[in-house]
Subunit: 392 residues, 2 copies
């Protein structure tokens, strides 16, 4: 309780500091955010990455900002002007893509200036805070691959499911060529559109492939949620992480992988198959990938807690996969861990993991995205670093 | 003014009637709408197609329903219960897909139970009211085509643009085959995702192609808005319909069509090219298609005012295209007009058009979608009737 109180005081102090900073610097030039819908004036972003938010709610008593734009966990109040507009100028925001929404007298309201994105398990507003001098994730004058909406029926869930499938530009003009495949998983509360919409994955891959940094590959982005039609087939508590992961693992092994390999020109075999995921998707990559080394030869974990130090130390975890370093290195060609420097808990965790891997002689790659947090820009950079290592 | 007052009285009366009907029938069984996000209990739909709406807003003074779910133009009040939930049970709703949102003390709030769709020029809630006994637009156990996200740079607008492109299931396994192409346009306030998301176009085409009712074809769904980078190149007032249509026509003729024909395996020539659009998209089909008979051989108008009786009567309109019936029929193989029976103004307009066509000896097909209004189910049925006529 004492710590909670301390945290609240710090939050309150931070909030007051935000407002003071905002007032002191409110003369800077603001331009509409790159992510705004056509013609929307607000939200605006300044040169020094402060965000100017505005929403009209003349009858409201209180309007607050919520989501993950600000690092505070408590909603922050906006201020009402004479025209019934509520405004807030934030302090400089960590570059990248951030979900947010307003609370108008406690009711969630998305910003009318933004499109909505599936985050926090619901459609939410999102804003792009520019990362200066970086354009690896932007469309360029290079050949562009397609992101395809692919529907298939899942017997395990008893439902139609939708995957998005990236095929590289050259796929169209090489009708006899087969391609290696990467399964790319989204995070908690997100869905199968996340990697192409928030993640800009197609532009990242187009640019990597055009500059010959990455091998042309097919990339599958499916939904990270799967509920069994017959829960009795999965002995664990249906609501538990293990059970949900077991259902998803089955959907991958029995449905998604076969559906992709029969629908697209995919090179067969584990050496042509990789999996990577962000946050929750990294946890799922551990459950699916480490339990099926006969299916995957490369695994990536972006801002994820999926591989624990305890499991690496445990000679029986994942069928003994970690018990022998040389044998592990022989099986898993790319074993990759990325994180943003603004994710301190994961930085610490990855350091412990690295030490444990070294002890066991397990080869792994660690990457830190400078100045970014638990959000899509970290994961864009992770993909940009991870994809070039695959299928070489 | 007198008419306006009369209309308001009728609206008020209708609203009161709705509420009475709702109260009288509130014991019927309601189930979550098919369009709800996973796990959302509300909105619900009853067997007799009434909708039960609910949103929590304990601090609000007034919550209303707006959009196009109800046929009234004025927002309709919800009623607050002891738990701070606001509810409304509507009278039976016309089957199909309807956009709506709440006004919470005047602020637009989307229903937390729905996904958002781009309608009314912003992300809005949408609900599917079941059309009993119809499944032509649902996914079935047939080969499925892909809907591909395709990016290209537009010199005319100075921007990257996104099109969605449907390729039939067999496209993947016939690497030497070329396909005819249909350009399919959305309505006002919508965007390039409308036809695949709200319109279910891929399922409609998969089903038609699998049952050999339609020729396998590629279908392009681009954005219906285009602003010139250099407005001086377009002499009309930049904000006018004519100018905006002229820019879009240029984007089609100089950029979209060439980009599609260089990116996909498309049969060349006007006889393999069709265009159709709904509402505003029908108007654009008239501007683009009738001005370019050298490019298109079939045109479809879904709930659209695009082709006017005056223009058909005018021997100079569209370069004299309508001046000779036999010559017109020789050029335009499928000239198709569809409308919902719940769109009285367009029913009247199409009747006048039919008469004028008969007078001129112009062959055209007219279709009426029974019991549907100016919404996506009318347009799904239009596509289902129109597509089988193409490229025969």
């Amino acid at each position: 309780m004492k710590n909670l109180f301390k945290c609240k005081i710090i939050c309150l102090f931070s909030t007051l500091l935000f407002i003071q900073v905002a007032i002191a610097q409110s003369n800077a030039s603001f331009v509409p955010a790159a992510s705004n819908i056509t013609g929307a004036e607000y939200p605006k972003v300044s040169d020094d990455l402060r965000v100017y938010l505005r929403i009209k709610a003349p009858l409201a008593d209180k309007v607050q900002l919520a989501g993950s734009l600000l690092p505070t966990s408590d909603p922050v109040d906006l201020k009402k002007d004479a025209d019934g507009n509520w405004t807030l100028i934030t302090p400089p925001i960590v570059p990248g893509f951030h979900y947010y929404w307003f609370l108008v007298d406690g009711v969630q309201v998305n910003d009318p200036g933004c499109d909505t994105y599936h985050g926090w398990a619901k459609p939410t507003s999102g804003i792009e805070i520019p990362t200066k001098g970086e354009d690896f994730f932007m469309p360029k004058n290079v050949p562009h691959g397609d992101v395809r909406e692919h529907w298939y029926f899942s017997d395990i869930t008893g439902k139609w499911r939708r995957a998005f499938v990236y095929t590289p530009a050259e796929y169209e003009t090489n009708p006899d060529k087969e391609y290696p495949i990467l399964y790319l998983l989204h995070g908690s509360g997100e869905n199968e559109r996340g990697w192409s919409l928030q993640g800009h994955m197609s532009f990242i891959m187009d640019n990597l492939i055009a500059s010959q940094k990455a091998t042309p590959m097919v990339i599958v982005m499916d939904n990270g949620y799967a509920e069994a039609k017959d829960p009795a087939a999965y002995p664990q508590n249906a609501a538990s992480w293990n059970s949900r992961s077991a259902v998803l693992a089955d959907v991958y092994v029995k449905e998604i992988i076969p559906s992709m390999e029969s629908s697209y020109r995919i090179k067969p075999g584990r050496e042509n198959r990789a999996m990577a995921g962000l946050s929750m998707g990294g946890g799922q990559t551990a459950v699916i990938g480490l339990n099926h080394p006969e299916l995957f030869s490369s695994l990536g974990f972006f801002s994820a807690g999926g591989v624990s130090v305890d499991s690496v130390a445990d000679p029986n975890a994942y069928g003994g996969l970690f018990s022998d370093g040389a044998s592990f290195n022989d099986k898993i060609k790319v074993f990759w861990f990325g994180v943003g420097t603004e994710e301190p808990a994961l930085i610490t965790k990855n350091a412990a993991l690295k030490k444990e891997f070294e002890k066991k002689g397990i080869k792994a790659t660690f990457y830190e995205s400078q100045g970014t947090a638990h959000e899509w820009h970290t994961w864009r950079r992770c993909l940009n670093e991870f994809a070039p290592l695959l299928f070489k």
